[in-house]
Amino acid sequence: MSSQATHARRSQAPARRALGPARAGHGFVAAYTVLLIAFGIVPTGYAVYFAFTNAGGRFTGLSNFSTALDDFRFGPAVGHVAFYLLCWLVSLVVFVVGLALLLHRMAAGGVSRVLRFLYYVPGALAGAASVMVWLFVLDPTVSPAAFLLRGLGYHTFGQVIAPGHLPILFTLVAFWTGAGGWIVVMYGALNNISPDVLEAARIDGAGAWQTAWRIQIPLLRKWIVYMVILAFAGGTQLFVEPQLLSQASVGVAGRDYSLNQLAYDFAFQNNDVNTAAAISVELLLVGLVVAGVFVARSGFFDAD
């Protein structure tokens, strides 16, 4: 199937669609729509309702939001998440793009395939498993990289997980599990660049750097933006890493570290679901705005 054929079909699509029976369409999406309403829209509405009312169900305006804001843990949590996001996004962009370019340029087919798979494998340890592994890797007494940790002057687990290190450590964990998937995506995007363009650049005397910097990276821009947007939205939701780390350090490091943890503690430690809902609404708003702007502005989803 050629892309012209696809285009031709697409342009005919509206006319043909109009002929398609509408009732059947509704039948096919009914079950999904029910789930979308039940687990997408209703919880959102419910959170908003809780965020603006008190325990007795009376409207209280923004007081839950100011309770959250005035909490001594709120400011630091925002700071933690912001700094973590900075580290995470910078490392993601630099290394994912860099590695994809290197893989694309250097490695022969088979080697490149194997490397991409190896980079991807830690994705299988997403969630709690990755934290378990990194608890060990960061403990100088058992770590396979103990020489590195000792070389940096850390001799105990406690020294490694000092509060100032946490954004870097969470970045390491997130990068370890998540980067491989993005490398595969970037590599695919690089493959979509016509070889003619690269060939032309080479004939014009462009070296590896120039080709990467002036041709490949600009052509990858859309994908890089996509990656950053999604990693940003995901990063604001930090929860499992600090939560398990705080368990592993008896609350010394990582307790009430992120906004999601704070929402969790308000809801389940303080029995204050209204303030928890207020924090959730703020996080939801970030997620919604980021997703909405991206869908509307990026042209990524203009297949329709």
Binding site: M1, H26, A31, G40, M132, A248, N260, A291
Partner: protein
């Protein structure tokens, strides 16, 4: 959260792969440079070590005693005997708790997967191939929800589920898992790029009902996307931590991810107040291995499309 990254990485990829005729088949062959400049190869190798070393260490850690873990070479093999001892100790923890958790994970992830497939494939098909009122709204809503990290809705979902008194029921996580807009999006992209409309029209002319067209024409052609949706749904559900952590208060209902947290609490090196039920570190490593095994197996089977098959339109490896 990493699951989001994994999921979203995948969200991007099919746009490349499922688009017919995208990109060029020939890839630049620059292997020769490898010999001229060793630095790039070195960087690639270093990152390979970074990604693989912890996994390798984890595999070996399960074969050691706690003492060997500390004193032996981190990358040495312990002994089959130690593995056996770790296995016995781990399975004895709270009387087979680990198997219960693995079983729970399997039940939750597979029921949710089945519902997801039954719901998402027809929905993606309808969005791509039929016209109905509200279609565009539904599509945009799907895209927006798909791009939102799934942890965003956990506390709101708790409030909702609590209101209908389903906290502690397995449906409190299966039903939210089953709502999988990304699956709908994947199917939508697949059908709108890979299924010729003429085929459906031909079936209609032959007297097929709308459901018949879907059942007899579209569905048999949808195997690749069903596999893809199944893969991502299963991995996402299996590795989810936050939702079950909030929804399921009882240990015997935990999926294995949350179970790992319980085990962690019983490791004296990480929690000095751990009581008599203490768990040794190699047992925790073994439990982690067991917890990821299903996903690793799925990864190995899916290896082809994960690394290149998914991008098959672009490369012909």
């Amino acid at each position: 959260m990493q699951t989001d990254v994994l999921r979203s990485a995948a969200a991007a990829a099919p746009r490349l792969g499922l688009r017919p005729g995208a990109g060029g088949a020939a890839r630049p062959r620059r292997t020769g440079r490898l010999r001229r400049n060793p630095l790039p190869a070195l960087v690639l190798a270093l990152f390979a070590v970074f990604f693989v070393l912890p996994v390798l260490w984890l595999l070996l850690a399960a074969t050691k005693t706690d003492d060997q873990l500390v004193h032996a070479n981190p990358l040495s093999f312990g002994s089959w005997h130690a593995l056996r001892v770790n296995w016995d100790a781990l399975t004895a923890y709270q009387g087979d708790a680990i198997f219960q958790w693995l079983g729970n994970s399997a039940v939750y992830a597979s029921i949710a997967l089945a519902i997801t497939l039954c719901v998402a494939v027809p929905a993606g098909y309808a969005l791509a191939m039929t016209e109905f009122r509200g279609r565009r709204t539904l599509l945009v809503a799907t895209l927006v929800v798909m791009l939102m990290p799934n942890a965003t809705l956990v506390v709101p979902l708790f409030l909702e589920i609590n209101a209908v008194h389903l906290i502690g029921s397995m449906w409190s996580i299966i039903l939210p898992y089953a709502f999988y807009p990304f699956g709908v999006y994947l199917t939508y992209i697949y059908f709108s790029t890979a299924l010729p409309r003429e085929l459906l029209d031909a079936a209609r002319l032959d007297g097929c009902s709308e459901f018949g067209v879907f059942r007899r024409v579209a569905l048999p052609l949808a195997a690749p996307v069903v596999a893809l949706v199944g893969f991502f749904s299963f991995v996402a559900n299996w590795t989810n931590y936050y939702l079950p952590y909030v929804m399921l208060p009882q240990s015997n209902q935990f999926p294995v991810q949350v179970g790992l947290g319980t085990l962690l609490d019983s490791v004296p090196q990480f929690n000095p107040t751990a009581g008599s039920l203490e768990v040794q570190r190699p047992e925790l490593a073994l439990a982690t291995l067991l917890a990821i095994t299903p996903v690793l197996i799925v990864f190995l089977f899916a290896q082809r499309f994960l690394v290149s098959g998914m991008l098959a339109g672009a490369t012909k490896d």
